[in-house]
């Protein structure tokens, strides 16, 4: 088909029209239309659960989902809030888990 196309284009002169070229304009996407950052959401849940129940798996999972959310981030400003909150909670949870006032159960 490309060969056919070539012959037709050369026959009917150049299809290019530099005069009508429009520069690229990035399509605007409103913040509401952005896809939902599920992993960030899950990260926040896990992080809060980890902090509240002093539950290290929760904090670790939160860190993992934070990483996923960071990896999938497209827009800096929009996503940073949620991720940073989840990250803070996750780190707080881990800190209290490992360095905080030790529970007798954790001493062993």
């Amino acid at each position: 088909m490309s060969s056919h196309y070539n012959s037709s284009s050369s026959a009917s002169n150049d299809p290019r029209q530099p005069s009508s070229a429009k520069p690229f304009v990035a399509p605007m996407v409103s913040p509401q239309d952005l896809p939902v950052d599920y992993s960030g959401f899950v990260a926040v849940i896990c992080a809060v659960a980890g902090v509240m129940f002093r539950y290290k798996l929760g904090s670790w999972l939160a860190l993992i989902f934070c990483a996923q959310s960071l990896a999938n981030m497209k827009n800096m400003e929009n996503d940073m809030k949620q991720i940073s909150m989840a990250m803070m909670f996750a780190i707080m949870g881990l800190m209290t888990n490992y360095f905080g006032p030790a529970r007798p159960g954790k001493q062993t």
Binding site: S2, H4, P15, S20, P23, D37, A67
Partner: protein, 504 residues
């Protein structure tokens, strides 16, 4: 508590959107959530059992036991049934009731009874137990060594029990850090995968660009402006996130521009990668050609695989409104059997699916060979959105090393721009679709009018309400003023009287 409150309010917006079904993602995130919860539950139950395990060991440990062998021997029947005479009593004691305990307890010292007590309670309430043990931190720290020894050394000599703890302790401490090890290694793997996956995606996108958008390639020969930047040396691709690449071209007859969007697999994201092992997906590329308004007649045509075609007719708005499935015409070659044609009229379908296209891509033989990457193609002058007259092509991207497979598909794009740009419906055939468009436009106009009217009415009602409120407020204020006045008057009236009486 306060923390929980604040966080819950922050959740609110994502939660509402989370509940809305949104493409295929929802399913997988639900799955992810489910798996997380199951993990949580699993871990909770594990930790609970582990705790009770420890506490169970606490129950019959203590160095004091190891210190005198005689005590150690007597304490054994507590745990294990071997001696038949004790078995009966111990089996009773297993059902965590007090009464049978005293009989085995009697030979032992005072320490076992204190240990025995927590055992039944530990299975019931972990936290209560821990609190109780808080007072005895020293004993607690000593327990693990003996706990390990108890299981192994019951039948062994004392000397062995002292050496064993160190050997057994290593795996146990490792077991304690399973979560950390697993999560840490997963994070490391995630990081490594992020960089390798990113590179892989970039490689595919660049392979496409070098194949189709460099000098003397198909896009260079068709468009005067390539790339997303300004000037001659602009970058060809725009990267959005880690797996979306955009390519822009403009400056061609019949169209304003072309936007190609590559949506590659989330190779950079280990979790989605794992998910894609279960539900495979493809690297997709979408070409959107924005046609000039005067260059496109009333054309609604879609071509897709049978199943996708049927869903398109149901779900895509302009197809739903104007088009229907077209049965293959008799007496001429038609598209491969896998494909379904959706069009406004048979004439449009017949004119736009030309012999050339059939021969090159969509015919029976050619489609098997070259059409593997074809997903769908949708031309319409009634697209919803900013651009109404648009051609949309959707292809699956081949491997980075086999970009040639796509050549014929990509060649469809300029071919159809020219074909549709030159295409004019016959006056006879035009009447019907034009009538349909007029009708649709009228409907849309009516809807708009209705919406506007509704909005107006709402506004009016609101204004009226506001006015009424203001009136009531006013009247209330007036009433108050009146009352105040009256009171003042009465006071005035009463005043002199009082004065008079006072004066007297």
């Amino acid at each position: 508590m306060a923390r929980r409150h604040s966080s819950s309010s922050l959740f609110f917006t994502p939660l509402s959107s989370f509940l809305l079904p949104r493409g295929g993602d929802t399913l997988w995130y639900l799955l992810a959530l489910l798996s997380i919860f199951s993990l949580l539950l699993h871990h909770l139950s594990l930790s609970a059992s582990a705790d009770s395990h420890f506490e169970g060991f606490d129950a019959d440990d203590d160095e004091s036991l190891d210190d005198d062998s005689s005590l150690h021997l007597t304490s054994i029947p507590l745990r294990t049934p071997p001696p038949p005479s004790v078995t009966l009593t111990s089996s009773d004691s297993e059902s965590h009731h007090g009464p049978p305990n005293p009989s085995p307890k009697s030979p032992s010292d005072s320490s076992p009874p204190s240990d025995l007590h927590p055992k039944p309670s530990s299975t019931a309430f972990d936290y209560w137990d821990e609190d109780e043990f808080e007072g005895l931190p020293v004993v607690e720290s000593e327990t693990p060594k003996s706990t390990d020894s108890v299981s192994d050394s019951e039948s062994d000599s004392d000397s062995k029990t002292k050496q064993e703890p160190e050997a057994v302790k290593a795996p146990r401490s490792l077991k304690n850090y399973v979560i950390e090890i697993v999560c840490g290694s997963f994070l490391i793997m995630f990081a490594i995968n992020f960089f390798t996956g990113k590179k892989e995606n970039e490689r595919i996108a660049l392979a496409w660009a070098t194949k189709f958008a460099t000098r003397d390639s198909i896009f260079d020969r068709n468009f005067s402006l390539l790339g997303v930047g300004e000037g001659n040396d602009s970058p060809l691709l725009l990267k959005e996130g880690q797996n979306v690449f955009r390519f822009y071209a403009s400056g061609r007859r019949f169209c304003q521009g072309l936007m190609a969007t590559m949506e590659l697999k989330s190779r950079h994201d280990l979790i989605s990668k794992l998910y894609n092992l279960v539900v495979p997906c493809k690297d997709e590329m979408t070409f959107e050609v924005y046609m000039n308004d005067e260059a496109m007649d009333c054309v609604v045509l879609a071509l897709a695989r049978k199943k996708a075609g049927k869903t398109m007719v149901k779900e895509v708005r302009d197809l739903q409104k104007f088009a229907s499935l077209v049965s293959p015409p008799s007496g001429r070659k038609w598209v491969a059997e896998d494909l379904a044609v959706v069009s406004e009229s048979k004439e449009v379908a017949g004119d736009l699916i030309t012999e050339v296209v059939l021969e090159q891509v969509f015919g029976d033989k050619a489609f098997e060979k070259y059409g593997r990457g074809f997903i769908s193609m949708h031309f319409s002058d009634q697209h919803s959105g900013a651009h109404k007259k648009m051609l949309v092509f959707k292809f699956a991207l081949p491997d980075a090393n086999h970009m040639d497979e796509m050549t014929r598909l990509v060649a469809l794009v300029p071919y159809y721009i020219d074909l549709i740009g030159r295409y004019k419906l016959s006056s006879q055939a035009r009447s019907k679709p034009e009538a349909a468009r007029l009708k649709a436009a009228q409907e849309a106009y009516k809807e708009l009018q209705n919406a506007r009217q509704e909005a107006l009415q709402k506004k009016k009602a609101e204004q009226r309400k506001l006015q009424e409120e203001a009136e009531t407020k006013l009247s209330a204020e007036a009433l108050r003023k009146k009352e105040a006045k009256e009171r003042a008057r009465q006071m005035k009236k009463a005043g002199p009287k009082v004065k008079m009486t006072r004066g007297h």
